[in-house]
Amino acid sequence: MAAVEQIFRATEAAGFGSLIRRSEAVAVPVLALIVGAAVFGLFLLTQGKSPVDFIAYVWQGGFGSAFSWQNTLSRAAPLLMAAMCVALPARLGLVVIGGEGAIVLGGVATGALGAHLAWAPAPLGITLMVIAAMAVGGIWIGMAGALRHYRGVNETISSLLLSYTAIALMNHLVEGPLRDPASLNKPSTAPLAETMRVGPLPGMDVHWGLALGVLACILCWILIERTAWGFAARIAGGNVRAAQVQGLAVGKLVIGFTALGGAIAGLAGFFEVSTVHGSANASLAAGYGYTGILIAFLARQNTLAIIPVAILLAGIEASSGLVQRRMGLPDATMQVLQGIVFISILMSDAAYGRLAIFKPKGN
């Protein structure tokens, strides 16, 4: 520690004090990850399993080969977009946990529309489906924002309940009005026209959702950090009364940011249907929305940080099969890991500002 202290003080003396204060934002979550991993390692030992083996398999299954990377990145694509549905409203101080509903309905909109687009040229048809999916997702989560702003309804509860409603609505639609009569034992919408399917990224077995997810993370970072809208949102997130006193349009910000988060989650639904499933059905409710919550919190609601965190989580999920098969551990092991990491990240909030090492000494 003394050596680190020395480096820090030297950095400060050289006039880069802000760098040290910023490094706290990286160091604290990394420390929390290490503590979480250590606790999980103890848990593995109580089960008579080796934590070293576990890490080896996570590496091999998630990152150790070209196939592992494609596996990881394929899984990361929907998670990137699901996490944005949490992180964007979070900048306004809102805790939205209903992204699953926006994903599911985005997928249903894609399936419902895509089955009737055989006439359209691919660019037009795909654009229409993207608009539909994003609009439906945006309206769904935007509703939670509007309820918050106009009626004072807790957005955490309302977005969660709306996601249940969305899944029920999806089941009703794919088993009823939108059901393809040929889908006997697994009710689905009619399959998308072949031209409406989006293929993989060039040279990879990973679909375009990954590229769009990364792009969305970058654009949203610019929106939040480099535009007047983002600045206003951060002010409102810090103190809503102060923002109102300053005359900021808090209502528009709340509804706009929740709707944008929902629209991006809806886009995840579009990619699920247009790249993986080819039609909308109950498999859309795969829990991406909930993993997205974990990712956004791990990334401390920073949309750029979401990219590596989503890839890390996806890699852990990609390796879960190998862990199951080689170590004889049940699938729930990964949920134990996620739970422990989530709790240690939440607890690490208390560490901010308390670690003397990050406090500037000079000025």
Partner: protein, 380 residues
């Protein structure tokens, strides 16, 4: 319907080695020092993938029992994965088994794994055999390295119904069902018709939970059925554990489904319709080991050993045992029909005219959209 064109898995060795080699290039080699990464080689590696937990006392457990029987075979390595959703996850799980474990025969056991997941992967791995449970393969549409198998379990629910018909005092029996799809409707109808073969005044109330696995609703539905007077309950959900325990806890008798649930309630368990995947899987694996092709389309019922019944419980009266065994023997002879005229659905429409009979193999049953007269409930 069968097709013997499928390729022998013998030809896969070189490709397997190739895949291993490329995986090693990706950095796996660096890890070979870790214990357990290098696997013992055997003649055949078989993968099993389940959509839920393998100890669910139900659908997934029935397949895991089959996998355990394969595991006991000489020269076979079995790799298993549970809780794999019907998303890109299952595609990657299959590929992971192929790339890391050298699996050349894979049993993805959930119905929803077939389209699009197996169909996407099969052309990419022509030397791997994909055997899917669900009976969806068709020669003009699907790759030849994909096979499909399924069992006619409706007859098992018919026999459940006979046991239920003898046990019920209230003449009301109940069915907890997941979704109103043809396969489930056939089970519900078979259960009631079995009971009516004992006493034509029996009615069966059905409650759909809407999900394959949703414990809270399954418990609610079971309680509601018992509250409404049903004293024998059966179900068609992925894991019947909750239904069996809730019904038995309320004092009702139960008929099992998917796997043997008698251990959950030995006194109240009458019998159960079980999959017998151990026979199907060991047959397929030994054919593969001998270099013989597995037919792409395999189906069977009670007579073929695809289905079996749990041993009758102590609550089934003597007369019930006699009728149960007699009908079972008749079914095993073949040519038995559960759906036969004159028969109406519960809205009064004729579904089978006098003299009309549907064998269990009849494709018309695969589009079933009705509940027969005597079933209280609705498909929508």
């Amino acid at each position: 319907m069968t097709d013997f064109l499928s390729k022998s898995p013998r030809s896969t060795l070189s490709r397997r080695d190739l895949l291993r080699g490329s995986a090693a290039l990706g950095g796996v080699a660096a890890l070979s020092g870790f214990p357990g990464v290098a696997r013992a080689q055997s003649a055949l590696t078989v993968g099993f993938i389940y959509v839920g937990p393998r100890d669910d006392f139900g659908y997934n457990q029935s397949h895991a029992i089959g996998a355990a029987a394969v595991k006991a075979m000489e020269g076979v390595t079995v790799v298993e994965e549970e809780n794999v959703p019907e998303t890109i996850d299952v595609q990657k799980s299959m590929e992971s088994m192929i790339n890391f474990d050298g699996a050349t025969l894979i049993f993805p056991t959930s119905f929803g794994y077939f389209d699009p997941h197996i169909l996407t992967l099969a052309p990419k791995y022509p030397d791997v055999r994909f055997e899917h449970c669900g009976g969806l393969w068709s020669a003009d549409k699907h790759p030849t390295n994909v096979g499909s198998y399924f069992g006619y379990i409706g007859m098992g629910q018919y026999l459940n119904g006979i046991a239920a018909g003898h046990a019920t005092k209230t003449k009301k029996i109940g069915f907890v069902a997941a979704k109103p799809i043809p396969q489930v409707l056939l089970n519900i109808n078979s259960f009631l018709l079995g009971a009516r073969a004992v006493d034509p005044s029996i009615t069966c109330q059905v409650i759909f939970t809407g999900e394959w696995s949703l414990a809270v609703k399954e418990a609610e539905a079971t309680n509601a059925l018992v509250d409404a007077g049903a004293d024998v309950i059966t179900c068609h959900v992925d894991g019947p554990k909750v239904v069996v325990e809730t019904a038995a806890g309320r004092g009702a008798f139960v008929c099992g489904y998917h796997a043997d649930q008698s251990a959950l309630s030995p006194d109240k368990y009458l019998t159960g319709a079980e999959w017998n995947w151990a026979k199907v899987y060991t047959d397929m694996v030994s054919a593969t080991m001998k270099g013989e092709a597995i037919p792409n389309f395999v189906r069977g019922g009670l007579a073929d050993g695809f289905i079996k019944m749990s041993p009758l419980g102590p609550a089934v009266p003597e007369a019930g045992r006699a009728q149960f065994e007699a009908v079972k023997a008749e079914i095993e002879k073949g040519g038995f029909s559960v759906i036969k005229g004159p028969l109406k659905d519960n809205a009064g429409n004729v579904v089978a005219t006098d003299g009309q009979a549907f064998l269990e193999t009849d494709p018309a049953l695969e589009g079933m959209a009705y509940l027969v007269e005597g079933v209280i409930g609705s498909t929508s």
